[in-house]
């Protein structure tokens, strides 16, 4: 092998403490080195030309550059060498600047060390192999899991860029929590007014395939090449025939028996139902758990009234598979279910607040429904128990959030804002009403957020009390709220007509299961984990799977939308090329020696190790060996260190290369 060595002075950065000509001279005597020179700025055009010229004239096979950190200019020199006809992976960098000249003062010592570092690189490069970047075809389609505002935004962004999207929503309609909201902070514009056009856009978009009432069952494959199995739950209604006339729901005899999920249990719905009037798709589903036909075999009222014969009681769950290149997870959140008995939950709950016991203790989403024009009270603020207008209302923040002993240690982030909004909406509708807010801190970071809270306090005269509520009980139709005003240092007792709890946002219950299906990580609360908290906030550790919205952590609408657009952009980056190019630094199995112990599989954080059967020509199983899925492998090399026979090696950092460097240590 003919190796060329190039020592960079980096102006004076290296040259001041390292005697570069001497290093170059010393390198010339290393076995294998046929060319050695030093130059003021190796990374400059003339410097790069020196390398290219030497490659051509001396027919070099490999190049070692002594320069700054490989993190700086490794790519530069690789490119230069590639343009002169050497494979870019036949280039090694010795870090003479950050790891030598900048940290030492003695010229003799620094020069000796520089020579050693060069020798390491020269010995290492002897075991480098020409590598090609890995090219993986990309299926330019995306799967979006969850049809809330995040999923809708991500789907529209990708679809508008011209790529197909499969949008999976587990409920009968898309829209998510945002569709339940009354008005949104800090502008107080109507949530549905801004959301429903988007929902319709999704439905009508030629590039979006909407699979409502469906769930992701299984995911195989890797970045650019996922195969997703989706369960389409039986709606008992033939979607293609239904016109959404609504007659079936109207005629359904069990009308008042089921609680409306959309109205958070504050109203009822029929057994065949659409969740809300603006639902997309506007196709009803039969809730088989309450439907008389499914319980007794009799009724069939909906079937009788349907002019299109769209009702199909025999429908079964079906499975579809979709090939996609990227997956955006936007499964959202749910509210901490505070009425849950402690033994069913690891969290203690807030039994003392009487949620679930007293009709007039409600949570934030229920208040949204009450305040919503489309809600059960048509937007009039009426309390659930007797449908009277509450004159005194208490809002309690941080129910479950920031409370390690009873709930979760994190801040749910949106409650300060929506509580201010609730109080404001209440005051706007009930002018003579009194609103009290128990808070721990008011966290209102965000554009126009603080101003919004100030408005609630100063213009709408909402009473903010800093302190916690210890107990709520009912007395003569009033809710007695006992708390403490920590600023005044006094106990507070309020006789309220309605109490609204800002319960914590928590991860969806099925989140860990989905995380396992997708092979992404999740934190102890069930929120999905990003690849890097700062620099890769929407990516996961599984390539091609991105996060959007509150499934990652509590966040509000603008943040969710921004994150969704970011996730869409990440997908689009992926779709920007026909082939996915990756550094070829991945593990490779020597099938002839692999004994199939699969310790590599155990240590692999990326599920990149698969089982491969080796068969002879007659088809008889010879052995089962490890196989690296090059799409999933990230190149950490833990498998390589674990493999007892070194039958799996990390290309680019294999044993030969590292041992060669260690061996060169003998001459230090």
């Amino acid at each position: 092998m003919k190796i060329g060595v190039f020592v960079c002075h980096c102006g004076e950065n290296i040259g001041r403490t390292v005697n570069c000509p001497e290093v170059s001279k010393a390198c010339a005597s290393f076995p294998g080195v046929v060319h050695s020179e030093d130059y003021k700025y190796m990374c400059s055009d003339p410097g790069q030309n020196l390398i290219k010229q030497a490659i051509r004239e001396k027919h070099l096979d490999a190049v070692v550059v002594g320069s700054c950190s490989p993190h700086m200019h490794e790519k530069t020199f690789r490119k230069a060498c590639a343009s002169a006809g050497i494979n870019s992976y036949m280039v090694e960098i010795a870090n003479l600047r950050e790891h030598c000249s900048w940290i030492h003062e003695d010229i003799a010592e620094a020069t000796k060390k520089a020579i050693d570092l060069m020798r390491f690189a020269v010995e290492r490069v002897k075991f480098n192999h020409p590598l090609q970047t890995i090219k993986v075809p990309v299926t330019k389609r995306s799967l979006v899991i969850g049809g809330g505002i995040s999923g809708i935004q991500a789907a529209l962004d990708i679809a508008n860029a011209g790529f197909e999207v499969v949008l999976v929503e587990k409920e009968p309609s898309i829209g998510g929590h945002m569709s339940q909201l009354s008005e949104t902070f800090p502008t107080l514009d109507c949530s549905q007014c801004i959301l429903t056009p988007r929902m319709v856009e999704v439905y009508q978009h030629p590039k979006i395939k909407l699979l409502s009432y469906s769930e992701v069952e299984n995911v195989e494959g890797f970045i650019g090449n996922f195969k997703v199995t989706i369960r389409r739950k039986a709606k008992s209604v033939k979607e293609e025939l239904c016109t959404g006339c609504g007659l079936c729901a109207e005629k359904c005899p069990i009308k008042k028996k089921a609680l409306s999920e959309f109205d958070e249990g504050l109203s009822n719905r029929s057994a065949i139902y659409v969740p809300f009037p603006q639902a997309v798709p506007n196709v009803p589903v039969i809730d088989r758990s309450v439907c008389t036909y499914f319980k007794t075999g009799k009724c069939e009222m909906c079937k009788k009234v349907c002019g299109r014969e769209a009702i199909d009681f025999t429908q079964q769950d079906t499975f579809v598979t979709e090939d996609v290149g990227s997956i955006i997870v936007a499964t959202g959140y749910k509210l901490y279910s505070i009425e849950k008995k402690p033994e069913e939950s690891i969290y203690k709950g807030y039994g003392e607040y009487g949620y679930g016991k007293y009709k007039n203790v409600i949570n934030g989403l229920q208040f949204e429904r009450i305040a919503s024009a489309s809600g059960p009270t048509s937007g009039e603020i009426l309390r659930p128990s007797d449908k009277t207008e509450p004159k005194k209302i208490v809002f309690i923040q941080c129910v479950g959030s920031r409370d390690e002993s009873k709930g979760f240690s994190y801040c749910s982030k949106i409650c300060c804002m929506y509580t201010a909004k609730h109080a404001m909406l209440y005051k706007h509708k009930v002018h003579d009403g009194e609103a009290y807010v128990f808070y721990m801190d008011i966290r209102s970071g965000g554009k126009n957020y603080e101003e919004f809270v100030r408005r609630a306090i100063e213009e709408d005269h909402v009473n903010y009390i800093r302190g916690r509520v210890s107990k709520i009980y009912e007395e003569d139709g009033k809710l007695i709220v006992k708390g403490e005003d920590t600023l005044a240092g006094l106990p507070v007792v309020i006789e309220a007509d309605l109490v609204v709890l800002a319960t914590a946002m928590i991860a969806q219950q099925e989140a860990p299961k989905l995380a396992q299906t997708l092979n992404i990580s999740y934190d102890k609360y069930g929120y999905f984990q990003e690849a890097h908290p700062k620099l890769r906030p929407v990516e996961t550790n599984t390539g091609g799977v991105f996060l959007a919205g509150a499934c990652h952590s509590p966040r509000d609408i603008p943040e969710s939308v921004a994150m969704a657009s970011a996730a869409a952009a990440k997908s689009l980056v992926l779709f920007g090329a026909d082939m996915l190019e990756r550094e070829p630094i991945i593990a490779k199995v020597d099938e002839s020696t692999c004994a199939g112990c699969f310790y590599c599989q155990k240590v692999c954080a990326y599920n990149a190790i698969e089982k491969k059967e080796i068969r002879d020509r007659q088809g008889n199983l010879k052995k089962v060996v490890a196989f690296v899925n090059s799409g999933l492998c990230q190149g950490c090399g833990t498998c390589n260190a674990t493999c007892p026979s070194k039958s799996i090696e990390l290309i680019g950092f294999n044993d030969d290369q590292i041992f060669a460097q260690i061996n060169a240590f003998a001459e230090v």
Partner: protein, 156 residues
């Protein structure tokens, strides 16, 4: 006069945290002693204990291994797997009587340039006091060119 002993330290560092932390030390011009030679690996999970043996065989008086803090691994869990191996390996060396106190471990993140300098200087100082790793150097005798052989035949 006897020449002052200067220890040779082989340092295996992960690419993402410690190597970058050492880069930061350089960028910050934090001066350190020149006895350590870094060998870059993608992750501490890539470090096979055989590397340590080879380093001692090749004359290292001390070996330093450093990577990302637990939980910060670029590859999720490489450092956790590595840590488990080190515990076993250190115990093995101890039992065989190979001075495992010449083996140093640290977590140095990409932002801990100063910590890196302190660790490197600390290791160099400690090994300087210990002196050369004679135990291991002795083992090379059989494969070294015997002193009695004066001149060899040169072949091109």
């Amino acid at each position: 006069m006897e020449e002052k002993f200067e220890p040779k330290i082989a340092a295996f560092v992960c690419n993402w945290c410690t190597y970058t932390g050492a880069d930061l030390a350089g960028t910050s011009r934090l001066k350190q002693e020149a006895n350590a030679r870094l060998i870059r690996v993608p992750c501490t999970g890539r470090i096979d204990p055989v590397f340590i043996i080879k380093a001692f065989e090749n004359g290292a008086d001390g070996v330093l291994i450093s990577g990302c803090h637990p939980g910060d691994c670029h590859y999720n869990a490489g450092n956790f797997h590595a840590r488990r191996r080190w515990i076993l390996f250190k115990n093995l060396l101890d039992f065989i009587g190979i001075d495992s106190s010449r083996l140093y471990f640290s977590w140095v993140s990409a932002s801990e340039g100063k910590k890196w300098v302190d660790i490197v200087d600390g290791v160099i100082d400690a090994v300087r006091i210990k002196g050369p790793f004679k135990q291991y150097k002795k083992m090379n005798k059989e494969i070294e060119i015997p002193v009695a052989v004066e001149e060899g035949v040169s072949v091109k």
